[in-house]
Symmetry: C2
Subunit: 167 residues, 2 copies
DNA sequence: TTAAACTTTCAGTAATTATTGAAAGTTTAA
DNA sequence: TTAAACTTTCAATAATTACTGAAAGTTTAA
């Protein structure tokens, strides 16, 4: 496999993975492109490489910056903006964990807590609702605590921890 | 909050969470409904409760069965089929982990391995592509090994493991 | 200032994904 | 058998989501 083919395969696969995980294709592909690019890229270059419009590029770069995994860079003496991705895989994992926890897990935990704490009126339905949402609450909060730990720790903590269990 | 309100809130929240994670709303909501239902439900009952069509109900129940988290049950002397969800939260987590690993992580690992192993032609671009896809490969395979462990273990392993890190 | 070089926004449109509902298929009791 | 009771399929349609491109906005150098 040649460079170009391999790169395109990676970008395309990353796009597909993203869409399975609720991240739009363009956003995932821009990230993939920057992830493997040795130099920061301009909007023009990204548009050109991925064959997407200026608007689409601009909006998705912004989202990647909101997620904290893409940065704006300027080259001395140039007006144009360039974009580069966070290159450290641990840091990438930390940021993604942090954002998904904040945006998705935390709000669900809140609902699970509320629902599992409704008054017990003694019916089977209510008992089951309380029991089942409480058990999901436990699972989700355990997982979320783990993510919080991960987010708070230094870079290598995650891999170190995983290694204990994998080896 | 009353029973009905709490239940609807849970079902709706589960639907939203699903769509953030690439699972369609109807599928997530049917799962939520069965998860908190003390008794198995018929297709009619599910349609009625969630206000969705027969076809939609049927197709999504089938997917839930493919995922291994919903079962068909028959009541003695009745022709109609009833459906019940796996009620154990650990088992639910195991099944979801198993399916997502199989459907999404494994194929991505395959691509990452291929791409990171292309010939090094000495250019910066190729070096960066190899380096960055290799580091993703490491992360993803570490995580996947963890999932495999989880999938293979007895029910409590997951929580036990997590507890070590959370406490 | 101003105008060139660039970025962002957003209404309109395209593409994708989910849903319906009726027809086809299946099972079972009589 | 057969026909009633049920389930599944799938073409048509609706709903959602993503994308485009031109206009508006911003920044900077002269």
């Amino acid at each position: 496999m040649e460079y170009k083919e391999a790169k395109d395969k990676f970008i395309s696969t990353w796009g597909v993975l993203g869409s399975h995980w609720g991240i739009n294709k363009a956003m995932a592909q821009i990230h993939a492109l920057l992830w493997v690019s040795p130099e920061p890229l301009s909007v023009e270059e990204i548009m050109e490489e991925l064959k997407i419009s200026r608007g689409n590029t601009s909006m998705n770069i912004r989202q990647l910056m909101d997620w904290g995994i893409v940065y704006k860079e300027t080259k001395a003496g140039e007006r144009k903006e360039y974009f580069a991705s966070e290159k450290d895989v641990q840091e990438l994992a930390r940021q993604v964990a942090k954002e998904r926890s904040r945006r998705e897990i935390k709000p669900v935990l809140k609902v699970l807590k509320e629902v599992s704490n409704i008054d017990n009126d003694g019916t089977d339905e209510t008992k089951e609702l309380k029991k089942q949402t409480a058990s999901l609450y436990e699972l989700a909060s355990t997982m979320d605590s783990m993510l919080d730990k991960l987010i708070a720790q230094e870079k290598n903590w995650f891999t170190k921890m995983l290694m204990k269990f994998v080896k």
